[in-house]
């Protein structure tokens, strides 16, 4: 049996050499002013303080941080699972601004440092269920998206929220034109939620994971996490959040409308056209396990879809 760093060191304390140096650099910037929140200006991989919210935890063990940060679908970096971790160095998570506009009384642009301080950071353990039938258990750090949306005061006409990921081929190499458009989505990546979904307390505006600032390959510096929907609904590296009265067009829906609907709620009884969604493989486990309705969050979110035909609204 071979021992690894992660086997002998608790994940929270485990820092790779590079991360350690990045963390040291962040500390150097902050200098000796110990009262300053050392994490505010921290680059990817630096420690990020948050209070554990005991209301959101999962009985299953956490996925290893190495797995959650090396096995990613983030087509802006490439279509292979290891592309994001290999190539994510080109993404610059600072400076970063998020424009929040559309049907709201106070549209404005937020600096990432401001976003980090808008509400107390919580750690929440969610199950991430990928539409490809694998899943992970990840401790995210963030706060409800509702806290940010409240700031801009949505107008009564606002029914949906659209999320837009950064479009910059210099930072996202796979956004450069490709041969016949293979490996490419209609950039920028966009996703959407109904406003009530976006305001649901489970919907997390996320800035960290595993006690650290969000790694680039996981959608730095800010993404959303919507745990009862398939992973692709949780847009990464967000630069714009727009309130709208019409259902937004979403990236995967544009690429393959029969396969990826607007709702894309985790639902074991609605198959993907090419495979069953009844079971999933938890990363790190051997046997498949049954997939739960709304990814196990039915109690909290089922009422959002009362009376809806979820086979039709897949």
């Amino acid at each position: 049996m071979t021992l690894r760093y992660s086997d002998v060191t608790p994940e929270r304390l485990y820092l790779s050499r590079r991360e350690l140096m990045a963390g040291a650099a962040a500390l150097a910037i902050v200098g000796c002013d110990a009262s300053t929140d050392a994490t505010a200006a921290a680059p990817t991989g630096a420690p990020l303080k948050a209070t554990t919210n005991p209301a959101y935890r999962v009985a299953d063990p956490l996925t290893k941080v190495e797995a959650a940060t090396t096995y990613n679908n983030f087509y802006e970096f490439g279509t292979n699972k290891d592309d994001p971790a290999r190539l994510a160095g080109t993404l610059k998570p600072r400076p970063w601004h998020v424009q929040v506009d559309g049907l709201c009384a106070k549209p404005r642009t937020f600096d990432i440092e401001e976003i980090l301080k808008l509400a107390p950071l919580e750690e929440r353990i969610y199950v991430l269920r990928c539409v490809e039938a694998w899943s992970m258990v990840i401790p995210w750090i963030g706060y409800p998206l509702a806290a940010l949306l409240k700031q801009v005061e949505p107008r009564p006409g606002a029914k949906y929220v659209e999320f837009t990921t950064l479009k910059d081929p210099e930072q996202f190499p796979a956004q450069k034109p490709s041969f016949l458009g293979f490996g490419s989505l209609d950039w920028p990546y966009s996703e959407g939620l109904r406003l009530d979904e976006a305001l649901h307390p489970l919907t997390l505006l996320t800035v960290g994971m595993y006690g650290q600032v969000l790694p680039n390959q996981n959608g730095a510096p800010v993404r959303i996490v919507v745990p009862w929907k398939y992973g692709f609904k949780s847009a990464k590296s967000i630069v714009r959040i727009r309130l709208t009265d019409a259902e937004p067009k979403t990236a995967w829906n544009k690429a393959a409308p029969q396969e990826y609907g607007f709702y894309s709620n985790v639902n074991p009884s609605v198959d993907h056209p090419r495979w069953s969604q009844a079971t999933e493989r938890r990363i790190g486990e051997f046997r498949r396990r049954p997939t739960l309705m709304f990814n196990g969050y039915a109690e909290q979110v089922a009422s959002l879809y009362a009376g809806m035909d979820l086979k039709k609204n897949y």
Binding site: T70, K81, F182, R281, F286
Partner: protein, 205 residues
């Protein structure tokens, strides 16, 4: 071709064809099969099977285009290795992916066209592998044997279709295999048409 050359070529095929399997076994040994090893191993075995099948289908086009005859001596070995990897691919799906959950697998074969065509391709390769020995060729007779072994074209098309169908549409890899197969079959088709035309010419004249 000397016996020694032929032996050297065949040893070469054995080595090249076993490298993908050795890499997977080594990856298992050092625990480096990605964090989703079953998916990874299934995909690698399937891709290797397709590559070897295309390699076996390249022998005839190489003879047509360049008059090379030595690739033909490797065709059987390449084809059998392709079948070997198809079996491993199928075995991993049954044992590791679904762990003998026959009901789910039967459902998949019936409901999902890409699994249906994949299993069909495997079944088509079974009689070809079974009749691959020199003794079987003699027993069947060249004409019948060749007719039976045309099934490999169908199996290859279904194998590539299986890959196109299961992969996300935005991925390029399945289309690379499709293009290669189209070229290999296209050369054969063009050659067959040419020979047909030549045979008919005296009749027309």
């Amino acid at each position: 071709m000397s016996v020694r050359t032929r032996v050297a070529l065949k040893v070469g095929v054995w080595v090249v064809a076993l490298v993908p399997l050795a890499r997977l076994l080594y990856g298992f040994w050092i625990d480096d099969l990605t964090v989703n090893p079953i998916e990874y191993v299934t995909r690698e075995l399937g891709q290797t099977a397709l590559r070897l099948l295309l390699a076996s289908l390249a022998a005839t086009p190489l003879r047509i285009l360049f008059g090379l005859s030595w690739p033909l001596t490797l065709r059987r070995l390449l084809g059998l290795f392709a079948f070997f990897y198809v079996c491993l691919h199928f075995g991993v799906w049954i044992v590791l992916d679904h762990f003998f959950d026959w009901r789910t697998m039967t459902d998949d074969v019936v409901k999902r066209p890409w699994i249906t065509v994949g299993v069909t391709a495997l079944l088509l390769l079974v009689p070809l592998a079974a009749t691959s020995t020199t003794g079987m060729i003699k027993w069947m007779g060249g004409v019948a044997w060749r007719r039976l072994h045309r099934l490999v074209y169908v199996a290859a098309v279904l194998g590539v279709l299986h890959y196109i169908w299961l992969a996300k549409k935005v991925l390029i890899q399945p289309w690379v295999y499709a293009t290669l197969l189209a070229v290999l079959l296209g050369i054969r088709a063009a050659d067959a048409l040419r020979r047909l035309a030549r045979r008919r010419r005296p009749v027309l004249a």
